[in-house]
Symmetry: C2
């Protein structure tokens, strides 16, 4: 009898046990991970690439030797059809190896945007130097602009080259910094200045390319956060970073590489050059912010979770290894606390928490869920570990919202009616699907308030329920809802509800007093609100008070890119925030346990 | 008959012709380059290392294979005793391979120094974070200091680590930047903050380590400018940089490496760590400034020689790859023109040209000589290519001021009395030696005003004169003065004198009107003034009006390191300068030819 080993496919969150010595392609197929394999596993097409993150595989085969460059080999790339698992292994599946790339939420509801960008472009026609005019390049430009002009070395370099390449006819991108003006780029006349806004989530990166003269969104793109291969949540990434000094740099480098790739692909799509990107606004949680900046993350891993810096940072892009315009600047908005980052600042901004006219709540759902309650000029904020269940991870038949994922479920007449992403035959449950499945089963009395399956006629309790029988699925296996799946949903929704209740209690308010419930995040955009309310994830207030706004952090980042006013408003937000650390909150455990029950509480 | 090849030993400026196939150790011995070779050329001791910069050598021998690491091999290191010259070759001789390292001038006359450094250090005792005090690290420090505190990412990193390493007891080095305070380093309490002042000459680098709280000079060190292997003067280095895109980076990297090594060796000598160096002031000519900063140098190679930037620059040391304190800043003072750099700004400052009370002239002698005349509130400045003769290069028996170099010569009774560096048996002539030799020969009537040897009784003109016969030298060969040597001196001193005369003419002054003649530079510190005046290098004014101040640029750099006031005074200097481009000056050729004659003009 052979030993079993676990093969873990990330960032998909799929795990499977197979006999030691199994090939990875079969393991992927068993796990429902649809790898490309045009040659049918002959080691020829090179499509089923995976990257070994951890564990032992069989040595490279001759086919693999022939296929991979030395750089790819040393990066750990393997062909799934050739490599055999000799131990538990953790693999990263690049998106291009997947039959259908996961659907990624990058758009958010953009209510209105001020337009007063920090950057503007000027076309200059400068006199050429002569024996009678020996002014240096920077002074020549500064005197034509009649401003005190500063430039870092790459920008100076670009100015010097552009002046000579275009005979003194140049376009300069400039950034007003109060007492001086900063040169960001020098290029041929009329080159449009572009901006990059990125929401760096724990799971995915959503990026927007913006025309800074018109405010137009030229393109948007999304990618998995490559750090996911080193830990599903920030806690495990911090643990990974603490393990060895070089690990933190690995997390930083992988993130920066992905940001560079996003910028490049956005520019390629828009027919622009990355050198046109003169400013970026990047938001993310505190740990991702610190990883990006190369700041110590150890203090974020232990109470009281102290950040190295939380004020807004303006940094040259080159200092982080981002290859944009030579003098491009990055704006990293203010963080709020160790577990509430600039993404929440941006989401608060996008949700108009800067000018609170109403009592309102923002729930930004992700692996961590940040919740804010604005009332009487103060903002109460907490963060709660809602886990990855809503992203389809840690669910028996869970998956991301890729084609074939069940996203809507109706239970009627003792059977489920399901709707899938892309209308394909069902192969698994994404976050909204499992949430609604559980809500329907609870509504039908098949699950009780505690999340326990009702007794069968023989008095026993089943441990799972077949939601879609194998005859109706795309892979010929049942899609089930297990007791553990239900429990994952209870933990996730309980964490969110407990956070909401504690903020209400701290403010001395009841749920009915809140006029506006803003639900943000990719999952929040797609979730079925009546289901969420039925399960008690949100209080039972009239549904018209809920606003599902999608990626509010991305919207806030775009607003800050396009408006100095919005940037200032965002900078002022954290000063009004009172942060409540739930793990140190006396009543948290009781409320959490209470919130795990289904139904209105 | 075998072909002859030229072997060029840099940075020593010694060249020799040898039959192709000769070993480099013999070539070095013939050229008077004293390489260490304890094993007598057996390929065992590994002391006679040289680096191949250009040309072809025999393949590595087994001894060399065994001796060198792969990195050394790929850097081009060879053993002189093993490698045979197969073509003309250019070699770099590392200082450690030389029997006696060249004497390098690093000290200057330091008349008085204001003391108000830009940097100060503060010991803080910060409360530890708690659930009741969740302030981030930067804010914690800023509020204790009661200043708006900025920090780049490495400094933030250091702050975060130091706070945890020392339980909130830290010393911060801070730099006042007007509207905010910049954090430069965070360390254990009472760590002294240090500063680095460097004069980056075309030939050598002179560095000083300064205690920023007391102003004390903790150490000084010098090194050859490694760029010399790529061109003796900046013109040829610019040509090298223009040849291939990567060459400019080579020149930058080599310079930065040397600066890092200087900082490290100074700190090692002083029992300090390079992380204590929180600020540096670096001065050098415009080309070296641009090489250091990675700015384009092409425009400096062609008229009208325009700099990319000439205003003072304050840069994070990390932006240039200098490894000092995490947030260390570099101050690069203002440049004056394409061929008059910040070293001259610093020399003007050290010579009190910022507060001109007298009509005075500064002559800073190097491969390029910069000359300034201050009169009536204006400073007239020019640069002149005096060449490397005064450094002992391009002279038949020339050498640097290393032990055995003739530095003083008296001609009496038809023979020379010589004095050597270190009192060793003479082996060559350094700059001051050849200058004085020529002056003595001219004084004795052996050379005429045109620099031509007097006719012998047979009516012929000799082409050289034996200054020290082989019986009295350290290497058993004659030390001679050739017609070409005399001509090199004429060119060098003529260029300087022509520059002086043109400045005087532009100012409408005579030499007698100048009250103070400041002669700066290493050669200027050691030269025999009566000889220089006799040859007409300087006008025949009373000798007490001359001040030989040595490395004035280094003194100026130190003053700027220790005083914000001096820094501001230096920044204001270039605005008072009128630069005169000699190559475009109508009268220059006539005056230059006239100035080549010996004697008072």
């Amino acid at each position: 009898m052979s030993t079993l080993v676990t093969v873990d496919f990330e960032p998909l969150g799929r795990r499977i046990q197979v006999p030691a010595g199994s090939d990875l392609l079969s393991a992927a197929q068993k796990a429902g991970v649809e790898l490309l394999a045009a040659c049918g596993g002959m080691g020829i097409c090179g499509q089923c690439r995976v990257r070994l993150v951890q564990g032992r595989l069989s040595p490279l085969t001759a086919d693999e030797e022939a296929l991979f460059t030395p750089a790819e080999r040393s990066a750990g790339l393997r062909l799934a059809c050739q490599a055999l698992a000799h131990s538990d292994v953790l693999l990263e599946v690049p998106p291009e190896s997947l039959l259908s790339q996961a659907r990624l939420q990058t758009e958010g509801h953009d209510p209105r945007t001020d337009f007063d960008p920090a950057v503007h472009a000027v076309d200059l026609s400068l006199p050429l130097p002569s024996q009678q005019d020996l002014r240096d390049d920077l002074r020549r430009a500064a005197e034509a602009l009649a401003v005190p002009l500063h430039a870092n070395l790459p920008a100076l370099n670009a100015l010097s080259r552009a002046l000579r390449a275009h005979g003194g006819q140049v376009r300069l991108a400039l950034r007003d910094e109060g007492e001086f003006t900063r040169l960001l780029s020098a290029s041929a006349p009329e080159t449009p200045p572009l901006g990059l806004a990125v929401d760096m989530g724990s799971t995915k990166l959503a990026a927007f390319l913006i025309h800074l003269e018109s405010g137009a969104v030229l393109g948007q793109a999304a990618a998995m956060n490559p750090q996911i291969s080193y830990g599903e949540d920030v806690i495990s990434r911090i643990a990974y970073a603490n393990k060895a000094p070089e690990n933190r740099a690995v997390l930083q480098t992988r993130l920066v590489e992905s940001l560079n790739q996003l910028a490049q692909s956005l520019c390629a799509q828009a027919g622009a050059a990355v050198e046109q990107i003169v400013e970026g606004v990047l938001v993310g949680n505190t740990a991702i912010h610190h990883f990006l900046c190369g700041l110590p993350v150890e203090p974020l891993g232990t109470a009281p979770y102290i950040a190295a810096v939380s004020q807004p940072l303006d940094l040259p892009a080159e200092a982080l290894g981002l290859h944009l315009a030579p003098g491009a600047m990055l704006h990293l908005p203010a963080l709020i606390a160790g577990y509430v980052g600039a993404d929440h600042t941006a989401a608060l901004l996008a949700s108009d928490f800067d000018a609170p006219s109403a009592v309102q709540v923002l729930v930004d759902i992700g692996t961590n869920t940040e919740i804010s309650l604005s009332a009487g000029g103060q903002i109460l904020t907490c963060s709660t570990a809602s886990g990855p269940a809503f992203e389809g991870a840690h669910i028996h038949d869970g998956m991301r919202a890729a084609p074939g994922a069940v996203e809507r479920v109706r239970w009627a007449d003792g059977r489920a009616q399901v709707f899938t992403v892309g209308g394909k035959a069902p192969v698994g449950l994404c976050g909204t699907g499992i949430l609604q499945a559980v809500a329907e089963l609870y509504g039908a009395g098949i699950l009780d308030q505690r999340g326990v399956f009702q007794r069968l006629p023989d008095g026993s309790r089943p441990s799972q329920l077949v939601l879609v029988p194998s005859t109706e699925t795309g892979h010929g296996r049942d899609i089930v809802v297990t007791r553990k799946d239900v429990n994952e949903i209870q933990l996730a929704k309980g964490a969110i509800r407990a956070g909401i209740e504690i903020l209400l209690a701290e403010a001395g308010l009841r749920a009915e007093d809140v006029q506006r419930w803003v639900i943000a995040g990719a999952f929040g955009a797609y979730l079925d609100l009546p289901s969420a309310v039925r399960l008690g994830m949100f209080p039972a207030v009239p549904l018209e008070r809920f606003f599902q706004v999608g990626n509010a952090a991305g919207v806030g980042a775009r607003q800050m890119l396009l408006s100095r006013t919005r940037r200032q408003q965002a900078a002022a937000l954290p000063q009004r925030v009172r942060y409540i650390e739930l793990t140190a909150y006396a009543d948290f455990t009781r409320r959490f346990v209470q919130s795990m029950y289904f139904g209105s509480i």
